[in-house]
């Protein structure tokens, strides 16, 4: 059976959330509610524009990423995070497509509201099953460029250590197809510069270095596609 890439993302992210919650013996309602709310908002937004129902698979992926990366938050804030992610996709556009990774944009906005990232789902199982995503999306070079640059820079300042947040970010967030480059060279530049920006942002307090680096690089996607 052949599934769309987003379907694989949904299955893998759901599995990661379920495994991590089982291991930590904790249940976070946002794993259910944020994807659900994001889907409802996305269906409503598309219906308002196009007068037809569109399956909200990308909204589910954005919702799962938000649920796994953000700290456990109250239901009201879950709704806010879902709303910001989906509306950013429908409002902030350039040449007909959205500019920012909706989940990353929402995480940056949520940090301004006092909601922090926790990367609670970024644990060991992702390393085994997450590699499938960049391989399947033909974006291994972007993931490799990011991880190689990032860990090289970290290792210069301290001894090498595996940063699960960096791995989760590289496998699941960096390579969102609509907001990242599609040309091979541009992918490598995108991944490497995202790593450099994330490394430089390390001392910045109150905002997540990875998601902010991604939002910054998203703004250059069109430029990279044209130049490389």
């Amino acid at each position: 059976m052949s599934l769309a890439p987003k379907s694989y993302m949904i299955i893998i992210l759901s599995a990661i959330a379920a495994i991590t919650m089982a291991v930590q013996n904790a249940f976070h309602s946002q794993v259910i509610l944020i994807p659900l709310l994001a889907s409802l908002i996305d269906v409503a937004a598309n219906y308002a524009k196009l007068r037809k129902i569109i399956l909200p698979s990308s909204a589910v992926v954005s919702g799962l990423l938000l649920a796994i990366v953000l700290e456990p938050i109250p239901v009201g804030m879950q709704a806010v995070s879902a709303l910001i992610a989906v509306l950013s996709k429908h409002i902030i556009k350039w040449k007909g497509g959205h500019i920012f990774n909706p989940a990353a944009f929402s995480m940056v906005a949520m940090s301004l509201l006092g909601v922090h990232t926790a990367w609670w789902g970024a644990s060991l199982p992702i390393i085994a099953i997450g590699l499938f995503i960049p391989y399947y999306q033909h974006r291994l070079q972007m993931t490799a460029a990011f991880l190689a640059t990032y860990f090289a820079m970290v290792s210069v300042t301290s001894f090498f250590a595996l940063d699960y947040a960096a791995v989760f970010f590289a496998f699941f967030m960096l390579l969102e197809p609509k907001t990242s480059p599609y040309r091979k060279k541009a992918c490598i530049m995108f991944g490497a510069f995202a790593a450099i920006i994330a490394f430089l942002l390390n001392p910045v307090q109150g905002i997540d270095k990875f998601v902010l680096a991604l939002v910054i690089m998203n703004a250059f996607t069109d430029y990279l596609n044209r130049k490389f």
Binding site: E71, G76, L83, S88, A109, G114, Y164, N202, D208
Partner: protein, 131 residues
């Protein structure tokens, strides 16, 4: 479109009002007590203002979902180095000391490098101000 922008703005403003905020210190007879939360990207509150001679009590927890990060509180000049892995606000890690020298002192997370993110954990800093 205008409606969507309006909704987004309203939601952000509402969220700003309804969530977050940092605790103000509780005055003690001989000093101040701070309830501190250590998040993945920073300390809250990020500045602790006390007077010289105050007894400072910090009741610290780690942010929701971050127990595995191995957060902590280190103030080198005061010889304080505590690891904070509890998320339970009813059972926080208690740190007490007398603020016996004035100046601005960096609060940092030395233990973060032993958590699941290792040395790549974001640098966490806050400031202890002793007047």
């Amino acid at each position: 479109m205008r409606f969507a922008v309006f909704v987004l703005a309203a939601v952000i403003i509402t969220g700003c009002v309804s969530y977050g905020g940092t605790g103000t210190p509780v005055p003690l007879n001989d000093g101040k007590e701070f309830r501190m939360t250590i998040f993945h990207t920073g300390y809250s509150p990020s500045v602790l203002d006390v007077n010289k001679g105050d007894m400072v009590r910090i009741l610290a927890v780690t942010g929701p979902g971050t127990a595995a990060h191995n957060h902590g509180i280190t103030i080198d000049e005061y010889g304080i180095n505590a690891t904070v892995t509890t998320e339970d606000t009813n059972n926080p890690v208690k740190i007490e000391f007398i603020a016996d020298h004035t100046g601005n002192f960096t609060i940092r997370c030395a233990s973060c490098s032993q958590g699941i993110f290792g040395p790549a954990h974001p640098e966490l800093t806050a400031t202890l101000v002793v007047k």
